[in-house]
């Protein structure tokens, strides 16, 4: 059994402003196995992006990693100095974001930007780097790769810009690619192309991928394992098939129930989750989902539940009352 390529333990990240401390991430732990695709799903403010920005150490100036460790290939990323970290980013760990336009320099051709990225990390001549850039464009299926190197970012569509970003990210054969909402700004047809490309590259290049998204459909489509985040914590984690077949946390159940079933057009009402997410400047003491949960008990408000075999819910406690559909299968 090969160990995980990335192991995050008890990560806590806060932002400090005039309002005080905003506890964006409150003790997150998970592992990423080599060559697997891990999905992190959550709504805005759940801490999913901040978790990954912490791992990359790309937090805004007022953000601080308070505690925890992120072991990558045996090294704790939080103990590296800036130079070591800069060397690692783009080399072993690469990242792509939701909006490729803001990640690309509009005044340089994409070719110059890809070649520059390659030269920064590899000892190659300019001609070799250019050749590598063409190969990368072909790998991510940008048509007429050689000619397209001379184009500027604005001459590409959103989908093609995301392909350019993926090509850049892959330029140094990273072991881990972090993709933060990579298809959110794209149309469904293009989204499918990009997801299939990511899946194919992950398998073909044996690269681990962390896919951050709010879209349960995207998660179900391509990932192997899932981490469900809410209120800066992991609410539930597990194998993708098990988790969708038998979600054990009321939040996961609520999320799945809130999206319309595509196979059903009977116009029956949707089941929303009432209320709104917690204010992370004043996070609740107990389970962050307790104020919106249909099964809240006194215990839920009083104390934070631990992870019971992958689900952070007091109902998973062996002595908890039985609730159909949560800790007990629904009667057939």
């Amino acid at each position: 059994m090969i160990g995980p390529i990335l192991s995050v333990r008890d990560l806590r990240t806060s932002f400090f402003s005039q309002r005080g401390e905003v506890q964006a991430v409150r003790g997150v732990s998970f592992d990423v196995a080599p060559a697997e695709m891990l999905g992190i799903v959550g709504e805005s403010g759940s801490g999913k992006s901040i978790t990954c920005m912490s791992i990359l150490r790309l937090l805004k100036a007022n953000g601080r990693i308070k505690s925890g460790e992120a072991l990558f290939d045996g090294r704790d990323l939080f103990k590296l100095d800036e130079d070591e970290m800069r060397d690692l980013r783009g080399n072993d760990i690469a990242v792509i974001f939701q909006d490729p336009m803001t990640s690309l320099n509009p005044t340089l051709t994409v070719g110059e930007q890809v070649i520059e990225t390659i030269l920064r990390h590899r000892r190659l001549t300019r001609a070799q780097a250019r050749q590598r850039a063409i190969e990368l464009f072909e790998l991510v299926r940008i048509p007429s790769a050689t000619a397209r190197l001379k184009s500027y970012p604005h001459e590409f569509s959103g989908g093609m810009r995301q392909r350019v970003m993926i090509a850049m990210a892959l330029s140094c054969d990273p072991k881990l690619l972090i993709a933060d909402e990579p298809t959110t700004a794209l149309d469904v047809t293009i989204q499918r192309q990009i997801l299939m490309l990511l899946k194919e590259l992950q398998t073909r290049l044996g690269m681990a991928v962390i896919l951050i998204t709010h879209d349960l459909g995207v998660i179900a489509e391509v990932t192997d394992h899932i981490v469900v985040m809410y209120g800066g914590m992991v609410m539930e984690q597990g194998n993708v098939r098990d988790l969708f077949a038998r979600p054990r946390h009321p939040y996961t159940q609520g999320l799945l129930a809130a999206v319309p079933d595509l196979r059903d057009d009977t116009h029956h009402r949707l089941t929303p989750i009432p209320g709104s997410p917690p204010d992370m400047a004043h996070p609740p003491e107990g389970c962050p989902f307790a104020p919106r949960c249909p099964h809240t008990m006194q215990q839920c408000v009083a104390a934070m539940p631990p992870l019971f075999d992958g689900a952070r819910c007091w109902l998973q406690h062996p002595e908890a009352p039985r609730v159909a559909g949560v800790n007990e299968l629904e009667p057939a």
Partner: protein, 391 residues
């Protein structure tokens, strides 16, 4: 109470009750409204209303909105003398009826013209050509002044509740603004109406003195909805109203939109790229591609019997929240061409797996392939071609 302009004008002096006369069916008879409904010859296929099949029999069967060969072109760039200017054909010959009380979903990729269509319909843009019949009156050629009474009957909910609400106005002023513009009521009655609307959209009347930035995205969208329904409109255009919201909040807003429709008899044009939600909320769905409707059917028919290759490709692209569903089909090739340079013949042919020489030569008309299911494909309904595609 009926909906003629004269009656509207007469009632502007006072406070408009939210649901006055909205639930009765008879009030919408053509005689009562006294307006002209489009004569059958305006239907492009001829032979009466092309949507008569499967049409729900109500007292007034004339659609609330009828778009006939609607075009909206934008002229771009060009040289100093304004010559050789490129023409962007955002809406390029749309025929579309929106029935009273229905939710018509409009889907398509970005750049297909769905938002331009909506903005043209409420005359934020001046249409290039074509007719826009609203309750029987062609509003395309109307001047600003003559358009005013129609403006209050068509309202819009925008995608971004952060950008579409003025941050310097209180919630009270935001929601009362349409009433002020339409000169309805006194400041006192308008405030009462704001309280009533806030309650209606699930917000606390105490919130009236606050500013939009004090609210979450879902609550802001509720404020936008209260503003949109303040004038008792007939038609509400929802342009991606839930796209900026979290999944758990989306369902809250969609349920509320459905309740408001039932209570107020609203007609919705629901524009979205969320193909799961559009099936849930719509009665009928139109699929747009490069400025035209390429397929239009009931929500059931569209998903069960998609007849245009583009619709099939769109549906095959939807990510399904069920990991046991592994789809084998290849993602659709290519990307939507530029609306400056629309392909000859069928505009989808450059990405279509079924394209033949006929498709390059002739643009397929939007035709009824049975039961009011419209498709603009030469091979729609052609079982041989479709099974060939499936195999």
């Amino acid at each position: 109470m009926n909906h003629s302009i004269a009656n509207r004008a007469a009632s502007t002096g006072g406070h408009l009750p939210l649901d006055a006369g909205r639930l009765g069916e008879g009030v919408r008879s053509p005689d009562a409204t006294g307006t002209n409904h489009p004569p059958p010859h305006l239907s492009p296929q001829g032979g009466g209303c092309r949507l008569q099949f499967g049409c729900v029999p109500v007292t007034d069967t004339a659609p609330l909105v009828s778009l006939r060969n609607l075009h909206k072109h934008f002229h771009l760039g060009g040289n100093l003398l304004g010559r050789n200017r490129a023409v962007l054909r955002a809406v390029d010959g749309v025929d579309l009826d929106i029935r009273r009380g229905e939710t018509l979903g409009l889907v398509g990729e970005s750049g297909c013209g769905k938002s331009t269509l909506a903005r043209t319909l409420i005359r934020l843009y001046q249409p290039t050509s074509g007719e826009m019949l609203f309750d029987g009156t062609d509003i395309a050629p109307l001047s600003e002044r003559t358009l005013a009474p129609f403006r209050s009957r068509m309202q819009m909910i925008f995608q971004d509740p952060y950008a579409s609400l003025n941050g310097r106005m209180t919630v009270r002023d935001l929601i009362a603004e349409p009433l002020e513009i339409a000169r309805i009521g006194t400041p006192q009655t308008r405030t009462e109406r704001v309280f009533e609307l806030l309650k209606r959209v699930g917000l606390n009347p105490d919130h009236a003195t606050r500013f939009a930035h004090e609210f979450s995205g879902g609550q802001r969208q509720r404020i936008g909805i209260a503003r949109a329904i303040a004038l008792n409109p007939d038609l509400v255009i929802c342009d991606e109203p839930i796209s900026a919201l979290d999944v758990s909040i989306q369902a809250q807003v969609v349920n509320m939109l459905e309740d408001l429709q039932d209570e107020l008899g609203l007609t919705y044009l629901f524009i979205t790229h969320d193909l799961s939600m559009v099936r849930h909320i719509s009665d009928r769905i139109g699929v747009m591609y490069l400025g035209r409707i390429v397929e239009l059917a009931s929500n059931h028919d569209l998903y069960v019997r998609p007849s245009h290759p583009y619709t099939r490709a769109l549906l095959a692209s939807i990510p399904v929240p069920d990991p046991t569903v592994r789809r084998e089909s290849e993602p659709m090739r290519g990307e939507i061409p530029s609306p400056i340079d629309i392909p000859s013949g069928c505009r989808f042919r450059t990405r279509c797996p079924l394209a033949t020489e006929l498709c390059a030569a002739q643009e397929p008309p939007l035709r009824d392939i049975g039961g009011g299911h419209l498709a603009a494909c030469h091979y729609a309904g052609d079982t041989a071609m479709q099974t060939g595609q499936a195999a």
